[in-house]
Symmetry: C2
Subunit: 123 residues, 2 copies
DNA sequence: CGCGCACACTTGCAAAAAGCAAGTGTGCTG
DNA sequence: CAGCACACTTGCTTTTTGCAAGTGTGCGCG
């Protein structure tokens, strides 16, 4: 069941990871979910806190909603908030794992390559 | 855009997650690392197993190498293999967390949104 | 009632990244 | 020396991302 994805073929494998990235692999998706882990937020708040272009934000919110990761909560008059579904909240683990990976841990077995300074947003 | 962080301003936050995505957030990056978790592989193998465009693969391998995630092992004559560094291997946790998230767990409380079938490579 | 304002998005267009196909260089091997 | 496998490059098209400005809607106020 679901196993393989491309059985008995020399073709590319199809992993669960690819399926995950299909949903949250787009440019600002995980950052948006991360913000929402703190609780429901409104469009304007997300935009200001992340610095994400407004059209991208609108697109991502629609996609993530369709994927069942978040949903819109109608607020007063014409305002609304975005909140994670259970499936969206389950992204806390992967997100924290990524955060831990990125966090420079002092006292660990430092190795690999010397850190090179960067200075620009996601990607 | 907001390059160089935005300290002590009302501007966008700069999370560790963003730093992680800066390194492994590009289109095929995590998939490449996932393959490499099984051990060192050669260029052609990666390309065939993932179905990634060859120019993209070359670019990602260079970027991931510069980020200290993997390194090139010279093999016989002009062939080489790519292997994860310790830092790259540490991505196993985030990757497995994402895989678990994507894995349809039978018996769970179905919720969020009805699954919509897809049929195409990442993104 | 009409005006301005905040909020939540669209729209239009330019720049960057991803994708496809074909080509290049290198070192065997026949 | 021709042919072949391997590891990439190069040239061009398509898709995605980003920026800036515009649209619609519902108050709050004079």
């Amino acid at each position: 069941m679901t196993a393989g994805g491309d059985p008995a073929a020399g073709g590319p494998e199809w992993s669960d990871l690819a399926a995950a990235l299909e949903v949250v692999g787009a440019r600002w998706a995980l950052l948006i979910v991360e913000q929402l882990l703190d609780g429901p937020q409104r469009y304007g708040d997300l935009q200001r806190r992340l610095g994400v272009p407004t059209n991208i934000l609108a697109t991502r919110l629609r996609e993530l909603q369709e994927a069942g990761v978040l949903r819109r909560l109608p607020l007063h008059h014409n305002t609304r908030a975005y909140a994670l579904t259970a499936r969206g909240a389950a992204l806390r683990e992967p997100i924290e794992a990524l955060r831990r990976w990125a966090t420079p841990r002092s006292g660990g077995p430092g190795e690999g390559a010397p850190p090179a300074p960067r200075a620009s947003p996601p990607r």
